[in-house]
């Protein structure tokens, strides 16, 4: 016995000498992400977008031009400045009320971030809890939850959102809530499948054999193992939220006319493009901003999925 111990110690010391750098799951994911140049660029674009949105939300940037417009005309409307094409003073031109399009776009990023966050919190909470219950307990709980989301999924999404906003009322917050209440189905399906898979894993049985309760197993033991799916879904869900806000504002349910949202700018372009010469810059700025952010989230979300997928590991 004593010799066994000695040998064991020696073995371990040897192992330590030639030990490879040990990385945790997340360190490993980050390592693999940084090797993907496109993902790194996307990450910085997202970071830039978040910073700009937050700063404008705090009222620190993109306020100057508005104030200027306000001074020339206290009602915020300066007809003299209306529809200036891009120039040095207004890098992206001005809109019908003479407001600077660049600052409108920047303020729009804050709105889209707010909508995306509200929606994400709502749909992730619903999806994780219901998916976990359905997958872990099975039986009638599973049947009931599946029935709910199958029913929800069978109604065309846009119609359901529009119907919900009719109930909740117009406005950005309500649009975000409606998007959240409708958007949880796909994540819920994924979570249910993950819980089905994990509940028969040995470590869950081992945890049960240690007398650990069901809810503790569900949310403390299994949930961290599914966290990558939630994070990827969160990242890709942003696109859904941003585009959802734009679409709903376009049909007149989201942002109201005083709110500088991207959807509002695109919606107003209907009239602007018909002018002669066509006023294209508000439309172009909003679309490009949306396009870049969505593309960045898409690429980053994809890269994240690749780097967190254990099946692709060497």
């Amino acid at each position: 016995m004593g010799r066994d111990k000695e040998e064991n110690k020696e073995q371990i010391q040897e192992q330590n000498l030639i030990e490879l750098p040990v990385r945790s799951l997340w360190q490993d994911a980050i390592h693999r992400l940084t090797k993907n140049r496109l993902a790194v660029i996307s990450f910085f674009i997202i970071l830039l977008y978040l910073t700009v949105a937050l700063l404008s939300g705090l009222g620190l940037i993109a306020t100057r031009y508005d104030e200027q417009a306000y001074k020339t005309d206290p009602s915020g409307v300066s007809v003299l400045d209306s529809y200036r094409p891009p120039c040095f003073d207004h890098l992206l031109g001005t809109d019908i009320q003479g407001r600077d399009v660049l600052s409108r776009v920047i303020q729009g990023s804050w709105i889209s971030l707010r909508v995306a966050l509200t929606m994400s919190v709502i749909y992730i909470t619903i999806a994780v809890i219901l998916g976990a219950l359905a997958g872990y307990f099975g039986g009638w709980v599973d049947d009931l939850i599946q029935w709910i989301y199958q029913t929800l999924a069978s109604i065309p999404g846009l119609l359901l959102i529009i119907a919900l906003t009719f109930v909740l009322g117009k406005g950005l917050t309500n649009v975000a809530i409606a998007l959240g209440l409708v958007g949880w189905v796909s994540l819920c399906r994924l979570m249910r499948a993950e819980y089905l898979k994990h509940k028969s894993r040995d470590y869950v049985l081992a945890a049960k054999a240690q007398g650990i309760g069901d809810f503790r197993i569900m949310f403390r033991h299994i949930f961290p193992n599914t966290l990558h799916i939630v994070i990827i879904s969160f990242s890709l869900g942003f696109i859904h939220a941003i585009m959802g806000e734009v679409v709903l504002t376009f049909v007149g349910l989201g942002a109201q006319s005083h709110e500088p949202s991207w959807g509002r700018m695109i919606s107003e372009a209907r009239a602007e493009l018909a002018r002669d010469p066509a006023v294209y810059w508000p439309l172009l700025s909003a679309t490009v901003a949306m396009f870049i952010v969505c593309l960045a989230f898409n690429i980053f979300g994809d890269a994240l999925r690749d780097s967190l997928d254990p099946k692709l590991k060497v």
């Binding site: 064991n8 371990i12 040995d202 081992a206 945890a207 049960k208 054999a209 007398g211 193992n225």
Partner: protein, 333 residues
């Protein structure tokens, strides 16, 4: 080996069935045995004979549906585990009865530190603070002879070798000082040198902590070394049970005899190992009468029709067979 006498666990006529789409799989079908405190009982048998289901039934961890304990009682420290509510049972698991599984590689949650998983047991059952639990977990890691326990505490499961994980598993199982440890093939996934270390460790811990062990294995050499008493399972039933020496020296049941003849012995030359013909009966459709009769070389008419009674033939030596006297003579000729 001294025989301890205080009764800790008494399983009476336990039956656990699995029902699927009209079929009933009688995985465990009338199993009875006793474990005294401080004793090691070896439960041996081929794959699929119901050993693990017996263990999971004691832990009340049979997935329901489709599984269900349909009859029998499990008296543990004077309480019938079969009748306990799930919440009461939860306070027993990991606390009074613990279990170590076959696969140390997958028995830990990959995203948590091994030490924290061990500490959690004490946090849940004894309501210790994290700090206290951590101290206790490190103590346990030292007890299971993991070197540099303080540093190993914060290892993730993938940083440990199989043998070390099984040690850590033992530490986790013994965290709350249970009076019964169920070890379901604890060394099957390990190589032989590690196997010996783990078995030694279990024996040392038993003499130190005084718990009883239900050791489930298909490896007769393992039980020969570890167990005070052995119960041999076949087709969901126990066919023979005796003290280790008695069982190895003069097995009564033809199945046990055949099993012992099918393992090689050191120093023995030019003996063909016995192969038991046929295969383990399907628990969906057991043969009539004695479940071993299609494979038994002593089978007679009565074996095909009636189920033999599990009787005491010698002191503390039980078996279920109609031909106990006859086969001895048959063997000698």
């Amino acid at each position: 080996m001294k025989m301890p006498d205080k009764l800790l666990l008494e399983v009476n006529n336990l039956a656990t069935y699995f029902r699927t789409e009209g079929y009933t799989s009688r995985a465990v079908d009338g199993v009875s045995f006793k474990i005294h405190s401080g004793e090691t009982l070896g439960l041996v048998g081929e794959s699929g004979c119901g050993k693990s289901v017996t263990a999971l039934s004691i832990m009340r961890l049979i997935p329901d549906p489709p599984g269900k304990i349909v009859q029998g009682s499990i008296l543990f420290e004077g309480r019938n585990l079969v009748e306990l509510k799930e919440t009461e049972m939860r306070t027993m698991r990991g606390n009074r009865v613990s279990m170590v599984f076959q696969e140390p590689m997958t028995s830990f949650n990959p995203v948590f530190r091994v030490g924290d998983q061990i500490a959690e047991v004490a946090i849940v059952h004894q309501r210790l603070s994290y700090k206290e639990a951590k101290r206790r977990a490190i103590e346990m890691l030292k007890k299971v002879e993991i070197p540099a326990a303080e540093e190993r505490y914060s290892d993730y499961p993938h940083q440990m070798s199989g043998g070390m994980k099984q040690r850590a598993m033992l530490a986790m199982a013994l965290m709350c000082n249970p009076s019964l440890l169920i070890a379901d093939e604890p060394t099957t996934a390990l190589d032989v040198t590690i196997e010996a270390q783990i078995l030694h460790l279990m024996r040392d811990l038993q003499s130190e902590l005084g718990m009883s062990i239900l050791l489930i294995t298909h490896d007769l050499c393992v039980v020969a070394e570890m167990a005070h008493r052995i119960a041999v399972m076949y087709g969901g039933k126990i066919v023979e049970s005796a003290e280790t020496h008695a069982l190895f020296n003069h097995p009564l049941h033809p199945y046990t005899q055949a099993l012992l003849k099918s393992i090689p012995r050191l120093g023995e030359k030019n003996r063909r190992l016995l192969v038991i013909p046929g295969e383990v009966p399907n628990p969906l459709a057991f043969p009539s009468g004695c479940r071993f009769h299609p494979r038994c070389s002593f089978a007679t008419d009565i074996c095909r029709k009636e189920i033999p009674e599990f009787k005491e033939y010698e002191k503390n030596h039980y078996a279920a067979c109609f031909n106990i006297g006859k086969q001895h003579t048959a063997q000698e000729t």
